[in-house]
């Protein structure tokens, strides 16, 4: 279990996360854990009482968590979205763009590597909810964001 890398200013949630099934089954926990096979949309009716969603990456090659994150952010979830498990610095950039704002990888991340990864891309081709203006909009009069 590594340290938590966090890109939020607010207080982190202290309680352990519960499974989606537990949560839907009348749990009061503000923290839910999504496995790759879970449907993030099951949480959409309950977003206002969730403060932390933990998304598990048992293997970094299983990319379902990226869609789970975007689905939640597109639905307006503004709480903490944490990627845990087999997370390498090489995935940090894409994970951030999909809406993750904290990371708890199996192996600790080198802070210099993280810095390099996040500053790597001057611009982006596609829009996500991260607010960065995509290149195809910058070309036609919009200004940069994020």
């Amino acid at each position: 279990m590594g340290d938590i890398l966090r890109f939020r200013d607010d207080q982190s949630v202290d309680q352990p996360s519960v499974t989606v099934d537990s949560f839907l089954d009348q749990s009061n926990s503000p923290a839910v854990r999504i496995e790759p096979g879970d449907d993030a949309r099951d949480l959409l009716p309950h977003l206002e009482r969730i403060r932390l969603v933990v998304v598990n990456f048992p293997s970094f090659g299983d990319g379902r968590g990226y869609s789970s994150a975007r689905v939640l952010r597109e639905a307006g979830f503004s709480g903490e979205l944490r990627a845990v498990g087999d997370v390498l610095v090489d995935q940090i950039g894409y994970l951030r763009r999909c809406g993750f704002d904290s990371f708890e990888p199996n192996q600790p991340l080198d802070p210099d590597d993280v810095e390099n990864a996040l500053n790597r891309w001057p611009d982006v081709y596609q829009p996500t909810t991260d607010g960065r203006t995509p290149i195809w909009n910058l070309r036609h009069g919009e200004t940069k964001n994020g």
Partner: protein, 544 residues
């Protein structure tokens, strides 16, 4: 053709630095091979039988003389003086050193090229019609849409760890010259009754272990919703594609198991949601990209006649040119299939010659076909004879386009760590056999495709005749199939029966060709005769 602006260049340059850093961390031991492998694959770098192999992207098969020349220089400087053009319009170098990979990507970036996402479980090179912008039958040039999809799919943060690889093809004609329905997503740009352009989406095609023809998912997506619809298709796949079994992980399995109707329903639901997110590029972007694909400055008075004095030239001109929408012009096919040669291979000198010829005779534009040849899209008929003489001197004028000598073959066990059998020697023996027996002309259009393993990189399922190499107790063995088609009459070949040895398969191909010659009726191609008479006469000829 498309040219990078500073945004595109900055992205490619950043990618070079990212990969240099990843190679460094691998060599220093900060990354294990398991961690590094998906990262190097997303930069086109494989570990093959003899060395690392680099697959360079040639977006929708289009490149300039300067780019083609750079590919020749890379072959000289970093490889062993040749390159291999592939069945997805890319080029591969077989003898790459890991420690050179960063420098090679930097050399590519200088000429607006890259190896981004040419491997890995992500969206690959978008392929298209090698006669785009020249063919008379196209509704519109399909390549602006391919370029838009290229940008959308590059470094896509949600779709870089898909269940498996993902391949797009884009065409804009009824005639399918890009095997469109044998792709994960095939798009045909069409006009509706009101005359508006839109995209027909075919999802769930592919070859490999379980070949399938893609069903039509949506017959008309308006152009200003193209990206949103593509994103919807991909998100359903990323969420629900199988991840338990590598051989059942392509989208074709998902579409097949859900059924096209249910897959469509899920896509349409995601589409309705994503439309509200406003992720589509402004239509001005498509218009901006289109300006790079306007017709070159054709000579409106170009002569419509060609040199008549040389019979060898006339044979080549008849076989290896394709009609052009502009009077006085043709598209010319440079064959990379000399008799007994290695299909798709070209020396560094040949590559640089093709670059120069493209600059001089084809408005500085060349194409790579998915059948491993090179096209010069816009050649004046009055230049054709001079062009042919120069190609002929360099061994690039074999007059066999779409004939049995125009063999498609994967690298096979001579190069590829996935292969079960060698494919190139079989291609060479068959090429030599039909040059010797002189039957190539009589056979006419006959598309022979050879794969060295079930992954079907040689597209054998889509061959009029297809050959699959297998491992039979440590000995190479070859199965013959008949009746595949990659065109708009898409079909998958059927196996004839037990496999053959390397000598046996050459005889088998000739025996099958003889059945056609004996049984054909007026105007029938090999494929047509097979479809009329069925497998039985072929089985009798092959197995007695």
């Amino acid at each position: 053709m498309y040219q990078y602006d500073h945004y595109d260049q900055a992205m490619v340059d950043a990618r070079v630095e990212e990969f240099r850093d990843q190679c460094k961390r691998r060599i220093e031991g900060k990354l294990t091979e398991d961690q590094f492998k998906p990262l190097r694959l997303m930069n086109g770098l494989y570990l093959q039988l003899h060395a690392y192999m680099l697959r360079v992207a040639i977006p929708y098969g289009t490149l300039s003389g300067r780019q083609m020349s750079a590919l020749g220089d890379i072959a000289d400087k970093f490889d062993r003086k040749y390159g291999h053009f592939t069945t997805r319009q890319n080029i591969q170098y077989n003898w790459i050193k890991l420690e050179d990979a960063g420098d090679i990507l930097a050399a590519l970036a200088k000429v607006e090229m890259h190896a981004i996402q040419t491997s890995g479980n992500c969206i690959r090179n978008v392929s298209s019609d090698h006669f785009a912008g020249a063919a008379a039958d196209e509704v519109v040039d399909p390549r602006p849409y391919a370029e838009l999809l290229r940008q959308w799919s590059s470094f896509h943060p949600e779709f870089s760890y898909l269940p498996r690889k993902f391949k797009f093809a884009v065409i804009a004609s009824e005639t399918d010259r890009a095997a469109m329905r044998l792709h994960d997503i095939g798009i045909n740009i069409v006009r509706n009754d009101a005359g508006d352009l839109g995209a027909a989406f075919y999802v769930g095609g592919g070859m490999g272990r379980t070949p399938m023809v893609a069903p039509l998912i949506r017959d008309f997506v308006p152009l200003d919703q193209l990206i949103t619809y593509a994103e919807s298709c991909l998100r359903v796949y990323n969420r629900y594609g199988r991840r338990d079994n590598k051989y059942k992980a392509r989208i074709k399995i998902l579409v097949h198991e859900l059924g096209a109707a249910e897959y469509t329903r899920q896509v349409e639901a995601e589409f309705a949601h994503l439309l509200e997110q406003g992720i589509e590029p402004p239509i001005a972007e498509l218009e901006r990209i289109r300006t790079y694909f306007s017709s070159p400055a054709f000579d409106l008075d170009a002569s419509d006649t060609i040199e008549q004095s040389d019979p060898d030239f006339l044979t080549w001109a008849e076989r290896n040119t394709h009609p052009h929408k502009q009077p006085g012009y043709v598209s010319a096919v440079i064959s990379l299939k000399p008799v007994g040669g290695i299909p798709g291979d070209a020396t560094a000198d040949q590559i640089r010659l093709m670059a120069t010829l493209g600059e001089t005779y084809s408005f500085d534009e060349l194409r790579v076909t998915h059948t491993q040849n090179i096209v010069m899209p816009h050649v004046r008929k009055s230049d054709l004879y001079t062009l042919w003489q120069k190609l002929d001197a360099a061994g690039l004028a074999t007059a066999n386009f779409d004939q049995i000598g125009d063999i498609i073959a994967c690298p096979g066990l001579d190069y590829c760590s996935l292969a079960n059998a060698r494919s190139i020697p079989v291609a060479q023996r068959i090429s030599e056999r039909f040059a010797a027996n002189g039957k190539g002309d009589a056979l006419g259009e006959l598309k022979l495709k050879i794969s060295g393993c079930i992954n079907a990189c040689g597209h054998h399922h889509a061959g009029h005749m297809g050959i699959l190499g297998v491992d039979k107790k440590g000995v190479e063995n070859y199965q013959l199939s008949i009746g595949g088609s990659e065109a708009e009459d898409t079909s998958l070949g059927k196996i004839t029966g037990p496999g053959f040895s390397e000598e046996g398969i050459v005889d088998a191909v000739e025996n099958a060709a003889d059945v056609y010659l004996a049984q054909r009726q007026d105007g029938e191609r090999f494929l047509d005769t097979y479809r009329r008479i069925g497998m039985k006469p072929f089985k009798e000829a092959l197995y007695g």
